[in-house]
């Protein structure tokens, strides 16, 4: 597959100095509710036809005995339908524990999985959150890969997610 990539892209992949970064800042809001559990969150990169180009992260309750936390993965219903149901969670390098309210930043480099295999093109970053006994929200941010210049895009959630910022660095 890598052999078939255009020269420009394979150049990016092999030259350390040209490695691009994709960085996500996601805010999990503080909610004043009767019963609070940290949300399950899935982040992935979507192609124009809504198929999944790359899974970035899935935060869920992976500390429960017998992997019981996987029972609620289907509540991330868009992610579940697009790719979650094809996987056996937890998956190394993809799954992580749920996060507390506050801002969280995660960065992926183009010289590592999963961005290593991402072809040049138009994509959407998708972030979906579902909270036990709470609601669900999904945010999208369009972007171009690989980035030609540093870019930043922002969108704000309304109830389950706060601000979402996508920063790309060539």
């Amino acid at each position: 597959m890598r052999i078939a990539l255009p020269v420009v892209v394979s150049g990016l992949l092999t030259t350390q100095a040209l490695a691009a970064d994709l960085s996500i800042k996601i805010e999990i809001p503080v909610l004043n509710v009767a019963e609070y559990h940290r949300p399950y969150v899935a982040m992935w990169i979507e192609r124009a036809n809504q198929s999944v180009a790359a899974n970035l992260a899935v935060w869920f309750d992976l500390k429960q005995k017998n992997n019981d936390g996987t029972k609620w993965l289907k509540d991330l219903r868009q992610w579940w339908r697009r790719s979650g149901r094809e996987l056996a969670m937890p998956v190394d390098g993809l799954s992580g524990a749920t996060r507390a309210a506050g801002e969280h930043q995660v960065t992926w480099s183009s010289d590592k999985s999963p961005l290593q295999a991402l072809a040049a093109g138009e994509y959407q970053l998708v972030v979906e959150a579902a909270r036990e006994v709470g609601g669900r929200e999904l945010l999208r941010l369009p972007f171009q890969w690989p980035p030609r210049a540093p870019t930043t895009a922002k969108v704000a959630g309304e109830h389950e997610l706060g601000g979402l910022t996508l920063s790309l660095k060539p």
Binding site: N67, D68, K74, R77, R85
Partner: protein, 297 residues
């Protein structure tokens, strides 16, 4: 309430003082979930016969003919089955990943004949019919009903093994997988009658929650020359899909569409006419009902 009731049926119902509600029940199963993840996956299913979807307030569905098929095509045993006043309930362990079919499939024979100057009515299984109804009965008229009530549930990734047709009665074959339905997206299915495309068959799709609205919101569809039909579900939620195919037989003796499906409690084999019997319609018919869950976008 039922559009297919003909004027004669109303007249007869009036004569016999039959409550019209007798004619209008729906047979359904309601699973706790249809799309599941996790490591110890179960569903519980309610099964009932009622007017309003999906409220168990009339008769339980009998479970004698319950059959569950796993993703490998092998039978799965229901656990904790019980039948109460208004509903039956049972649990299904989903030990393998894939799609399961939960079905109640039944054949009922009804007969009307004359004996000693009296009109006799009989109802029961095909086997009991052969044993109990005299072969040379005078003015014998027979009606045979095959009914199939189904739900599909999927743990993990949807699979297709359970949709292999059995060739008996009406069956649903997905073009769109029934556990991959999303609000606003078109979903296409195919109906078979005895293994062949069920052509020009009326299909009715009704959203659940009838009790809390004034209109049925029924979608009336029809299968094409390949037995296919497409439905676009306007909202997320549980839907009831049904189809009936009639064939053979003389015009109805006392035309009425009895939808009891022969599975209600009290629909046991009995001889001799009583005023509460539904009107008799000879011939064959096949009934199909399925509960489909449509996910939000």
């Amino acid at each position: 309430m039922k559009s297919s009731l003909e004027p004669a049926a109303y007249a007869l119902a009036a004569i016999l003082c039959l409550p019209l509600s007798v004619e209008a029940h729906r047979a359904w199963m309601l699973p706790s979930s249809t799309v599941l993840s996790g490591s110890d996956v179960w569903v519980t299913v309610d099964a009932a016969i009622s007017n309003d979807l999906f409220y168990f307030d009339h008769n339980p569905m009998r479970l004698e003919h319950l059959a569950i098929m796993g993703p490998d095509g092998l039978p799965v045993r229901a656990e904790n089955a019980s039948t109460g006043k208004f509903r039956s309930t049972f649990d299904v362990p989903l030990k393998q990943s894939g799609t399961y079919k939960v079905a109640v499939v039944n054949t009922t024979v009804a007969a009307m004949y004359e004996e000693g100057g009296e009109t006799k009515r009989w109802r029961g299984s095909p086997d009991a019919f052969a044993r109990e109804v005299p072969a040379g009965a005078k003015s014998l008229q027979v009606s045979k009903t095959h009914s199939r009530t189904e739900v599909f549930v999927t743990a993990g990734k949807p699979t297709d093994t359970v949709f292999q047709p059995t060739g008996v009665g009406i069956e649903l074959v997905p073009v769109t997988h029934p556990n991959d339905l999303v609000q606003g997206e078109p979903a296409t299915f195919r109906l078979l009658r005895d293994g062949q495309p069920a052509v020009d068959v009326a299909v009715v799709v009704v959203p659940g929650g009838i009790r809390y609205r004034d209109t049925l919101k029924e979608m009336a569809l029809s299968t094409d020359k390949d037995g296919k039909f497409t439905v676009r579900f306007p909202e997320a939620g549980m839907y009831w899909l049904s189809a009936t195919v009639r064939s053979g037989g003389a015009p109805p003796v006392a035309a009425a569409d009895h939808q009891g499906m022969g599975m209600a409690a009290g629909a046991s084999a009995s001889a001799g006419a009583t005023p509460a019997q539904p009107p008799f319609r000879p011939g064959e018919r096949a009934l199909y009902g399925a509960t489909l869950e449509v996910m939000a976008k």
